[in-house]
Symmetry: C2
Subunit: 393 residues, 2 copies
């Protein structure tokens, strides 16, 4: 016996994803990368803004002693202060450095937050379709992921959420703008969610935290605004990263921000910092903390994604695909013609177009496309998209 | 209820450490930083080598597309290849990129490795005195930390280890050169450990992994050699970082290397990579991976630490302190005069000298000093060390 039974189970369960990636790699090797149209990965392809390169060069030239050394586990105080300033403006609160914990991306932040708040046997509620990592993140800390459906338009289904809450629910995770759907929950939905959580917390005699995973907040279209959870529920924690804002997901830098008026503030922030340490993150990468500290509110050129969004949405609409046009992110989730998402993704693969079945996000019957790809990938894939849907006419 | 019961418990249990740090901060505020002699932190103070700055500047100037983007969760293939070359030379094996997983420091690596191999209820055996984080790292993944004493000289106590192994032991962690003692286990001890683990694995019908946490390998004195675990036990995994080699602990970059002939190789490495992903690390920081890839075998100027070691050891010896002279690291662990480590650390604090009680490492009656401090801190502290020990004469 080598690998733990649980991890072996995870590996077997996710082997179909691995096979899919292997097939994709084989197709690229056989037909040439330029002839395979890969919409399966969420790796931002718009370059970082010039301000990032400038801040990075400055950070490298700095001659401060111990500049690559440890700092407090919650992050550099001055960086936490910069982030608090941004959080205050964005979320309409008066945040201070004490509300902020710098983390190893949003993934690291979510794990530190979940570990800090769940006891074994607790439940974490997420929305279908959901980012598959949430299941692991809950399980890592002994909690179970429970699920509530969303509406046809991929908006929050408040009645379904209320029905899915139990006395064991310690947190609800939402992700808006949403991966995989591109949905942005309107203020009315967030307000209704806050009302339900406050009422149910009262009823169950425990705090149900709202964890808002929002790394795509900057990537929105046609003037869409992303309402702040802080305006609608005080027991909220925002977890985010600079991965998509600045196109630097490989650098693993983000933060958790708690509502300044959150219950049991000092223990909660202390707990998140402790978990950041004991999970082995220790602290967010030093130099990148100092770099992003100077880049509050900076983003990549969103117009690039907006153009790709029009290109893919217009193209697919013309071919008869049915989908909710994304209001944010670089994803969309069309219905699978014929209804069987795995079969349809296979049909696309036959046309050298790579996508991810909705089953991977808990929503069979749909498939996810990432449009953070060169424009030519989008235009070049259209004949394949056309032939694939034609099979189902 | 806000923070989880477990995390609240951890915070209460570690509150004495926090109080100690707070007292240290208060003393510095009151008496001035230059008048407080802080030996409590393991934050390397020797600057990174010039080669690091050069490689960093090159990495920043590189114009590769997607240079801050995601790469495979195990790390850049070319970096894993570079590390494999170094591992091959250092450990006398023929390692390939498939034996290496790039991690968020050794802390991240240990968590990914432990999660990959333990099932709930398993045991992880460590040596007293031990790095306090090991207890958290085992607990994070549902395992219990068990402990075996070391000898008077802080060497492995093979009989004690054999007695502490049980059918539930899935891993033994060693740390050589050792934090907090500075001990380096000789080849004979590693060989004897390998023999016991092979025999006990056979007896219990399960693989007992040897996890060698070795971030201090480069920091050794007087020609001390650190024997490779790979030479003595095939079911070994080396976890290390560049934190001390290059004085960059804040950057969170390290790796796990499995023995090329380890049992169930593909599943184990696949499991470590999966755990690296699902624990929220996702991947080791991108740019730092490329930087350290070029710096295999590079180190800070060890002569700096060697000088500080002489300075502190000579000074303390002259004053009558009893200790095993460290063969590696920048720590030493003298006996507490009077026998009560907490009381003696308090006596030192009265003299504005900050140290850590051995109780924090599971070894009461001793205290730990970190000598990665300016020379003046060492010389300046000697009068305080003298007055403190004088109380116990």
């Amino acid at each position: 016996m080598a690998v733990s039974r649980k991890i072996k189970g995870f590996m077997e369960k996710s082997s179909w994803i691995r096979r899919m990636f292997e097939t994709g790699a084989e197709l690229k090797a056989k037909h040439g990368v330029e002839n395979v149209f890969d919409f399966s990965l969420g790796n931002p392809n718009v370059p970082p803004p010039a301000s990032f390169q400038k801040a990075l060069e400055e950070a490298v030239r700095e001659t401060a002693p111990n500049k690559h050394g440890y700092m407090p586990n919650g992050g550099y105080p001055h960086v936490r202060q910069e982030v608090a300033g941004f959080v205050s403006r964005r979320h309409g609160v008066s945040a201070t450095a004490d509300d902020i914990v710098m983390t190893v991306g949003a993934g690291g932040g979510l794990n530190a937050v979940i570990k800090a708040i769940v006891d074994p046997g607790d439940e974490v509620l997420a929305m279908i379709p959901y980012f598959v990592e949430y299941g692991f993140y809950a399980d890592n800390h002994g909690a179970a992921l429970t699920l509530a459906p969303t509406t046809e338009e991929f908006d929050l289904d408040i009645a379904a959420i209320e029905g899915a809450l139990t006395p064991r629910t310690s947190a609800v995770i939402i992700n808006s703008p949403n991966n995989p759907t591109g949905a942005v929950y309107p203020a009315s939905s967030i307000a209704a969610l806050g009302e339900v959580l406050a009422r149910k917390s009262e009823e169950y005699g425990r705090t149900i935290y709202l964890v808002s995973d929002e790394p795509y907040t900057a990537i929105v279209y046609e003037g869409t605004e992303v309402p702040s959870v802080f305006s609608h529920y005080r027991n909220s924690i925002v977890v985010t990263s600079y991965s998509k804002d600045l196109s630097i997901p490989g650098e693993r830098i983000g933060y958790a921000a708690v509502h300044p008026d959150i219950e049991d503030h000092a223990n909660l922030v202390g707990g998140i910092i402790l978990c950041n340490r004991i999970l082995g993150f220790v602290n967010a990468p030093a130099m990148m903390q100092r770099v992003v500290g100077k880049l509050q509110g900076e983003t990549v050129d969103i117009a690039e994604y907006a153009r790709k969004r029009e290109l893919i949405c217009d193209g697919l609409e013309r071919l008869g695909y049915e989908f909710v046009k994304p209001r944010g992110t670089f994803y969309l989730m069309p219905r699978a013609p014929g209804g069987d998402d795995v079969a349809f993704v296979q049909a696309l693969q036959d046309e050298l177009v790579l996508a991810v079945p909705g089953s991977g996000f808990g929503l069979p019957g749909h498939f996810r496309l990432s449009f953070c790809v060169p424009d030519e990938t989008i235009t070049g894939a259209m004949p394949g998209f056309e032939r694939a849907i034609a099979r189902y006419r």
